[in-house]
């Protein structure tokens, strides 16, 4: 089993949150739609899958291939799920962000 990494980039964090927002229906198309709606920018399928495979390599995401469907020309879907370790990592990132925000307030900026 791969040891989860304790560092994630901004886009990786967004992808993790998008997967969480889609619940059981998280696959390429829905994740991309959620990201595009949330960030209001176009996301290429190549950059999404590059990030998803990196997250898998880091042990933050697990995936499984579903059955082929007619609307996809007989191609299968790959579903994604965020692991528990990634969820705690996301919470850590949020907490760090909050601490920095508090420091900023104390500094009077």
């Amino acid at each position: 089993m791969k040891k989860p990494s304790n560092y994630i980039g901004e886009f990786e964090e967004l992808v993790l949150l998008a997967i969480l927002s889609q619940g059981d229906n998280a696959y390429g198309v829905t994740i991309r739609q959620a990201l595009e709606e949330a960030t209001a920018r176009s996301i290429s399928i190549g950059s999404l899958y590059t990030t998803l495979s990196r997250l898998e390599d880091k042990g933050l995401v697990e995936s499984w291939v579903g059955g082929p469907t007619a609307e996809r020309g007989g191609r299968a879907k790959k579903h994604y799920k965020v692991k528990g370790s990634a969820q705690s990592l996301l919470r850590e990132v949020q907490a760090a962000r909050q601490r920095l925000k508090d420091l900023e307030t104390i500094g009077g900026i």
Binding site: Y27, G28, V29, R32, S42, S44, I45, G46, S47, Y49, T50, S53, V65, P68, E71, R72, G73, R75, A76, K77, K78
Partner: protein, 155 residues
């Protein structure tokens, strides 16, 4: 008109009411071509909608081939499936030409991250190869010797 004995034309005995009816009928007859055109255009529109719905999902071959070149085998089917799903939506809303343009746009937009990943993989392999060569300088020679010994044993 002929009379009962066949003695040539006789004066018409049609009343004004009958004439009016005949004129009205003529007017209706004149409407038939128009009605036929309307019905024909409705049936053509319905037919084109049915054709659009039953069109096979065939994205541009060249664009799909580029994906096959750049993607690892396990991702090929999944990524092209995602794109075909979007392609079907665009095809349903617009037409094949526009759906093709959409598909090309998606592939071109994905070229940079996919190329970067492919180059990184190749770069990593080259780098590992160099390290291995430094660590074991005579690895090629050792392999050749082992192979020769093996073939001698077989003989």
């Amino acid at each position: 008109m002929m009379d009962g004995n066949g003695n040539g034309p006789t004066k018409s005995s049609a009343s004004p009411g009958d004439r009016e009816q005949a004129e009205q009928f003529g007017r209706y007859l004149g409407l038939f071509p128009l009605l036929a055109i309307v019905l024909r255009s409705i049936s053509l529109a319905r037919q084109s909608t049915i054709e659009k719905k039953t069109l096979p999902l065939r994205p541009p071959f060249n664009a799909e081939f580029v994906l096959y070149l750049l993607l690892p085998r396990e991702e090929m089917e999944v990524v092209s499936g995602d794109l075909i799903e979007g392609y079907g939506t665009v095809l349903e809303r617009f037409d094949k030409r526009r759906a093709d343009i959409w598909f090309y746009k998606q592939v071109v937009g994905s070229l940079l991250p996919l190329l970067r990943r492919a180059l990184l993989r190749i770069g990593t392999l080259v780098w590992l190869g160099r390290i291995l060569r430094r660590l074991v300088p005579n690895v090629g020679f050792a392999l050749e010797v082992a192979h020769d010994r093996h073939s001698v044993r077989i003989r």
